[in-house]
């Protein structure tokens, strides 16, 4: 379980980006985090991951999140990553094995086996020796998904994984995530495309700096909640 208590984040010590968010997310589940631009969705994830300073408390499995980071896999927005970095697909996926390796230990046979298995899972076996810059956006997102798989973590955080990718990649990623959930994992996904919310997420966390709503998708994905988060101008079809 992931629990936040009065979580608050500020970048400039005056304006809060995330305001007093307290939730308990129980797995196994796929939980979507939605909200308008600047609602603090990515910041919320990063605070749980201890990547930035925050006030309040974050507990994972009842312990301080800091001590549980080994058990969390994080897939950041792919636009944050330098495509021109000289690294091949297999190497990039192998980064996910680092937590199981100690200091001074190199990636060994066992780890490369896991890497190849994960690449096969996302249908990219024949791309192992390409440089990451030679991939399409969707293929690269699948590489990040494979990297997350080899981490074998119980908690998986993804930031906008479906932005700018092809439908084949989206399908492969979604199937992989569903399998992971069925295997007992807790998955959090920052997402902005409201049209697929019903199909993708069991639970929904609607955020606009403050917590607007949290619960089963069917219950909280309502006009009223969305209006609170996005304002009056939101035109929604199919809700």
């Amino acid at each position: 379980m992931i629990e936040t208590r009065a979580l608050e984040v500020s970048y400039d010590h005056t304006n809060l980006v995330v305001e007093n968010v307290s939730v308990k997310i129980k797995g196994p589940t796929i939980t979507g985090i939605i909200g308008p631009n600047g609602a603090g969705k990515s910041t919320f994830l990063k605070a749980i991951l201890n990547v930035l300073d925050f006030s309040g408390e974050v507990l994972i499995n009842g312990n301080e999140a800091k001590q549980e980071l080994r058990n969390v896999a994080y897939v950041e927005q792919k636009s944050q990553i330098d495509y021109t970095f000289p690294i091949k697909v297999r190497e990039c996926v192998s980064l996910g094995t680092y937590p199981q390796l100690g200091l001074f230990h190199k990636v060994g046979k066992k780890q490369w086996g896991q890497v190849d298995e994960a690449l096969a899972k996302v249908n990219l076996s024949e791309y192992g020796n390409r440089q990451i810059s030679e991939l399409s956006g969707g293929q690269f997102q699948r590489v990040l998904m494979a990297r997350c798989l080899v981490q074998a973590a119980d908690y998986i955080f993804l930031d906008e994984p479906f932005v700018g990718i092809d439908s084949v990649s989206e399908k492969i990623i979604m199937e992989t995530l569903t399998e992971l959930k069925n295997a007992g994992k807790t998955i959090l996904i920052v997402h902005h495309d409201l049209s697929k919310v019903h199909d993708y997420f069991d639970q929904l966390l609607i955020l606009n700096k403050k917590l607007v709503a949290f619960g089963q998708t069917a219950e909280v994905f309502t006009q009223e909640n969305l209006r609170q988060a996005y304002g009056e101008n939101l035109v929604m079809g199919g809700v």
Partner: protein
């Protein structure tokens, strides 16, 4: 030119020292330079290499080994830069500019005060032909240490360079590796002072690495190419400088630059000619 150089090598001990030291510096700065350019820290490299100057001067005054003072001031500069960047609206490049020019100015004054036998001109522009046995051995020792650290922490340096957010999310001490790299950078800067001088060290750090970057699709390949280019540029530059009796350090830097210019046009990543045709 070549036979003349080889003859000189057989005859003069100072030239042997120069060659060995230049090659060692070329290799080690090529390796560290890869991480510097991949992290977008070229300017930081420039800053640290200038900032070690007051440390060197103070070491002379206090009669201690100049590595001690240099590392202290190199780290001090990187701490100051990081602090200014993190705690004000001033942008990173401005913080770097203010810090390193101040350190350099302080260094020039202190070297005057120290009034040591070491010529300021030689510190600023290098004097590879005057390298003593002890300097050569120190350079080799430092190079071995730096390469060993890179080898041992390769995995962590790769991850923190490529994806610092993921590294931090895994609970890795990203800052530790930042400062580790700063220490390596300082060590390289002090060693390279002998061959190309304080002013031009940044060239040895970034030019071979940038050239290698144009040919590499993995970090290991990039490091090997960069180290090789650093070493080859050092040998060729030294040969040209010695043969025509011109500044050897500057010749080394220009040789490395020639490799870069040629690669800029022919390397597969640039694809310069194909692009031209296409447009």
């Amino acid at each position: 030119m070549f036979t003349n150089f080889v003859q000189g090598l057989n005859e003069f001990h100072f030239l042997q020292n120069a060659l060995v030291t230049a090659v060692v510096i070329g290799i080690v700065s090529g390796v560290v330079g890869c991480f510097i350019i991949l992290r977008g820290m070229s300017l930081m490299g420039d800053a640290i290499s200038h900032a070690v100057l007051p440390g060197v001067a103070i070491s002379f005054i206090m009669g201690i080994n100049f590595f001690v003072g240099a590392i202290a001031f190199g780290l001090l500069a990187s701490v100051i830069i990081t602090y200014i960047k993190g705690n004000s609206v001033i942008k990173g490049d401005t913080a770097i500019g203010i810090t390193f020019s101040s350190f350099l100015a302080l260094g020039v004054i202190l070297i005057g005060v120290a009034n040591s036998s070491t010529d300021l001109f030689h510190i600023l522009f290098g004097n590879i032909l005057a390298v003593q046995d002890v300097d050569k051995w120190i350079s080799i020792g430092v190079a071995v240490v730096v390469l060993l650290v890179v080898f041992l922490f390769y995995k962590e340096l790769l991850l923190t360079s490529f994806d610092p957010d993921m590294a931090q999310a895994m609970g890795m001490k990203v800052n530790f590796y930042h400062y580790l790299l700063m220490i390596l950078l300082t060590l390289v800067a002090v060693t390279a002072m002998q061959s190309v001088g304080t002013i031009l060290i940044v060239a040895m750090l970034i030019t071979p690495a940038a050239t290698a970057y144009l040919y590499s699709n993995s970090l290991k390949v990039m490091i090997v190419i960069s180290a090789t280019l650093g070493a080859v540029s050092s040998v060729l530059g030294l040969m040209i400088g010695y043969s025509f009796n011109i500044a050897a350090g500057s010749c080394i830097v220009l040789t490395a630059a020639v490799f870069f210019v040629v690669s800029f046009f022919i390397s597969p990543k640039q694809n310069f000619f194909k692009k031209k045709v296409a447009s």
